[in-house]
Symmetry: C2
Subunit: 132 residues, 2 copies
Amino acid sequence: MKEPLDPEMFDPACPSSAMPIRIGDKWTAMVVVCLEEGPRRFSELRVPMRGVTPKVLTQTLRALERDGMVTRTVYPEIPPRVEYELTELGRSLFGPIAACRAWAAAHLEDLMRAREEYDEITAESPGGAQLA
Amino acid sequence: MKEPLDPEMFDPACPSSAMPIRIGDKWTAMVVVCLEEGPRRFSELRVPMRGVTPKVLTQTLRALERDGMVTRTVYPEIPPRVEYELTELGRSLFGPIAACRAWAAAHLEDLMRAREEYDEITAESPGGAQLA
DNA sequence: CTGTATCCTTGTTGATACTG
DNA sequence: CAGTATCAACAAGGATACAG
C-alpha cells in the first residue's frame, strides 16, 4: 500500500475510450483508481495521468470534492502540501467500477469487432442498410 | 410487452444528471431502456425522449448500431418503417445499468446532500478549504 | 415516416504562462 | 508545490428547415 503510482498505469493507446460505460468525465475514474491505496498529493496524481493540465486536474478534484467523493486536506507547510483521499462515498464507486471492468472483460472485444465490421461495410457501400 | 412508451418515463427534473456513472452519452442509456421490451420505431423513441432532435437521435442510434448494440431494420413500405432492436450485446448492458441504478438507490442521496453542503459553504467563504 | 442539411450556441478540453 | 488566469480549439447538442 502507498507505493508510488505507476506512470504507465493508464496507457493512452488502450481501448478504454470505446467503453460505453463511464464514471463521471474523462479523468474521474482515473483519480478514483489512483486514490485506491490511500491519500495522494496533487503532483503524485499528475504522474500516471499523463497529459492532464493542472487546471483540468483541479477541476476534476473539485468536482469530486463537491460530490463528497474525496476530501482535500491542506498542510500549512512550506512548501505547501495537499492530500486528496477517498471518502466512504468515493469508495462506494469501486463496485460500479468493478462492474464496468467486468463488462469490458466480457464484451469489449465484441464491441470492437462490431465497430470494425461496421466501418468496413459503410466504407464500401455508403447506403448499406439492412432490409427485411 | 410492447406497450406504448410512457411519455413521462424520463423526467427532465430528475437528478439523474448528477449520476457519476454514465452509459455512453446523454441519450444512449435512454434508448437502451426504451428498447428493453422489444423493437421500437424511430418516432416511438422520440416520445419519451422529449426534446431530442431527429439529428441527435439518429446520431445516437447510428453509434449504437456501429458498436453492435442495436440492429436497424428497414421495411420497404410506403410510408417507410424502420425498427430498432437490441442485440445480445446491447442487452448485456442491462447488468451495468442495473448496477448504476443500485448505486443511485444506495448513494445518490448522499451525493446530493454533499453537493448542497459544499455549495453553501463555498458561497459564504470562497476560501473555505479544510486545514489539517 | 424517417431521416438529412445547415447553422449556431455552448460547454469542455487543453496550451501556456504566471502567482502565493 | 499547488494551483490560478487567460486564451484558443474543438466537439456535442440543438434549432430549424427540408428531402426521399
